[in-house]
Amino acid sequence: MSQTSAGASPAGTAAGRVPAVAAYGIEKQYGQVRALRSASFEAFPGEVTALVGDNGAGKSTLVKCLAGVIQPDAGRIQVAGRDVVMHNPVQANGFGIETVYQDLALAPDLDAAANVFLGRELRRWKVLHNAKEMRRRTAESFAQLGVGMVQDLRVPVASFSGGQKQSVAIARAAMWAKNVILMDEPTAALGVIQTKKVLELIERVRDSGLAVVFISHNLPQVLEVADRIEVMRLGARVARFSRDDEGLTVDRLIASISGAYRNEPETGSENGQGAAA
């Protein structure tokens, strides 16, 4: 289905590839604040796309639009080349988009399996939950993803370390995502070893062929795992980099984050979008 509609997709698919998820000309205003000013974004299958920018650049707002948590005032969102409208996170899930939120969004008193299947419980006799089967599938998925840090699937996740919790949250996303996983600062609160584990997990998900989008302030880490980097400033995209670009350095990233460098046209309109391609 994605192939048939590829022809209808806009110029953003310059390389002939269809973005797993894309946003064009997104506007979002909170009272007097214009959080997004014709923001655009693309993430391709099988790639880790990092979304970087200073505080208030609009990264989280953009990701929330893609996750269905908030609705843009204007602009288009596409999934696999098809225009979509998402009114809530569940609709985004329906399009194969899963989100790992900054504040985790796990229920601490439930165990890992219950969290993984929260809102999508396997049932017996329609009303009862099938705890045993959910636990079995959770164990299998954790093993597939190499989430070896969780010892006991029956313990409430409140007793897990930060890295374990984050692993559960990412594994949950990976168990349901069919297109894109969005992550808002997945390693912000983690130690060195936990961060390494989570990054490995991100790469494993990427290698499965899905698009991974992650927000991060840690630029060395971004350079380490990201295949592409999109930079936001004042609510719009100001620069795009690919892993192979010459001159892609932390300094260059900082320059684009602070406004000293840009490789995107100044306009915020969709026409500008076409010109960029």
Partner: protein
């Protein structure tokens, strides 16, 4: 689009070689076994039990029962005394089921007394609409009552309880008024309505007596039977159903529940409606047991139900609680009361002891929570 598409986990799985697949399966099995499903089942279940508040209170209850059985030998530890006890706690057991659900969502229901009393009043009103012989259903004696009368009264009670519960649920869930205030409001308003309907006067009726004192199982009053069924049903609902799991999720992290697609507002409405139904049923049983409405007689039912749930390990912060724990929590004050009378101590000591035990229980719950989240 997504019907044929595979999830990340499925795609990862496909890329594995046979050798890797075997290793992964082994790891998965280890994870499941680590969860205590096959190996060491007894050990892990035991360890898990040891950590719970319910176990702590169960040991306390056991100690009380043994203590009174020794001190009041021949009086306390008789079959008839235990049946008597079970009868005394039956109505509170029913009320506490609703309280447990509400508290697990991190809410509270103070409106229990008004829902109970309205349940009583509506049961009697419903009976008064049925003409039997020269009078109404209210005048029928326990021996001559009919299933129709019992059901009509039950419908009245459940309607009253459900109405109070739905109002609570709407105000808490949709209007986002704190549960403490919302249910305080319906407590006062409900009591007022009950007084208005009765002019503050109680109505006596024996028509429902078989529900309480009849014995479908010889030696076991029906009242106890009803309480057992309600507790079992509540246990299934809270622990084994998707409804129960969502109840825990909302109390544990409301935002997480919402983002997972759980309709939080509607679920809260259902939870408070369930609590209201339990209160209405409590009113029905109360009329059946005491053969009269008691518009002034239930003023502390809400606090007793909360006490039972809290003693049993239900966390007032939500997300934690068991039906078994609440049942134990119902029995502790009752056993204390009964035992103290039998051994000749003033029963008022029960109030003192329960008060401090409650504080102790909630304090230890908080200690456990703090040590858990410190990691």
């Amino acid at each position: 689009m997504s019907d044929e598409a595979k999830t990340a986990v499925e795609l990862v799985a496909e890329q594995r070689t046979d050798a890797e697949k075997a290793a992964v399966q082994q790891q998965a099995d280890a994870l499941v076994e680590g969860a205590g499903i096959s190996v060491d089942k007894a050990a892990t279940v035991w360890q898990r039990l040891m950590g719970t508040q319910a176990t702590f209170t169960f040991v306390a209850l056991l100690a009380l029962v043994i203590g009174f059985s020794v001190m009041g030998a021949g009086k306390f530890n008789t079959g008839s005394n235990f049946v008597n006890l079970a009868q005394n706690v039956a109505i509170l057991t029913v009320l506490s089921m609703g309280a447990t659900f509400v508290i697990v969502t991190a809410g509270v229901d103070l409106s229990v007394p008004s829902a109970v009393i309205l349940g009583e009043v509506f049961a009697v009103k419903a009976l008064s609409f049925v003409t039997v012989g020269d009078g109404t259903g209210v005048d029928v004696s326990g021996e001559n009552t009919t299933a129709t009368l019992l059901l009509v009264a039950l419908a009245g009670s459940l309607f009253a309880g459900l109405t109070v519960g739905l109002i609570n649920g709407f105000v808490v869930g949709y209007l986002k008024v704190p549960a403490l205030i919302a249910t305080l409001g319906t407590l006062g308003a409900g009591l007022g309505v009950a007084y208005l309907m009765q002019n503050g006067v109680n109505v006596a009726t024996y028509a429902l007596a078989p529900v309480a004192t009849g014995q479908l199982i010889p030696g076991l009053p029906n009242l106890v039977l009803v309480a057992v069924f309600v507790a079992l049903g509540s246990g299934v609902l809270l622990h084994l159903s998707v409804f129960g799991r969502h109840t825990y999720a909302i109390g544990s992290n409301e935002e997480a529940a919402r983002r997972s697609g759980i309709k939080v507002e509607r679920h809260l409405l259902k939870v408070y409606a369930f609590a209201g139904l339990m209160s209405g049923l409590g009113g029905y049983l109360s009329v059946a047991y005491f053969s009269t409405t008691s518009v002034a007689g239930h003023s502390t039912d809400n606090l007793n139900a909360i006490t039972a749930a809290a003693l049993g390990g239900t966390s007032l912060f939500g997300g934690i609680g068991t039906i078994v724990g609440t049942v134990i929590g119902v029995w502790i004050p009752a056993v204390l009361n009964n035992g103290l009378i039998i051994v000749g101590v003033q029963a008022y000591w029960q109030l003192v002891v329960v008060g401090f035990v409650l504080i102790l229980a909630v304090w230890s719950d908080q200690l456990r929570r703090r040590s858990r989240s410190r990691r």
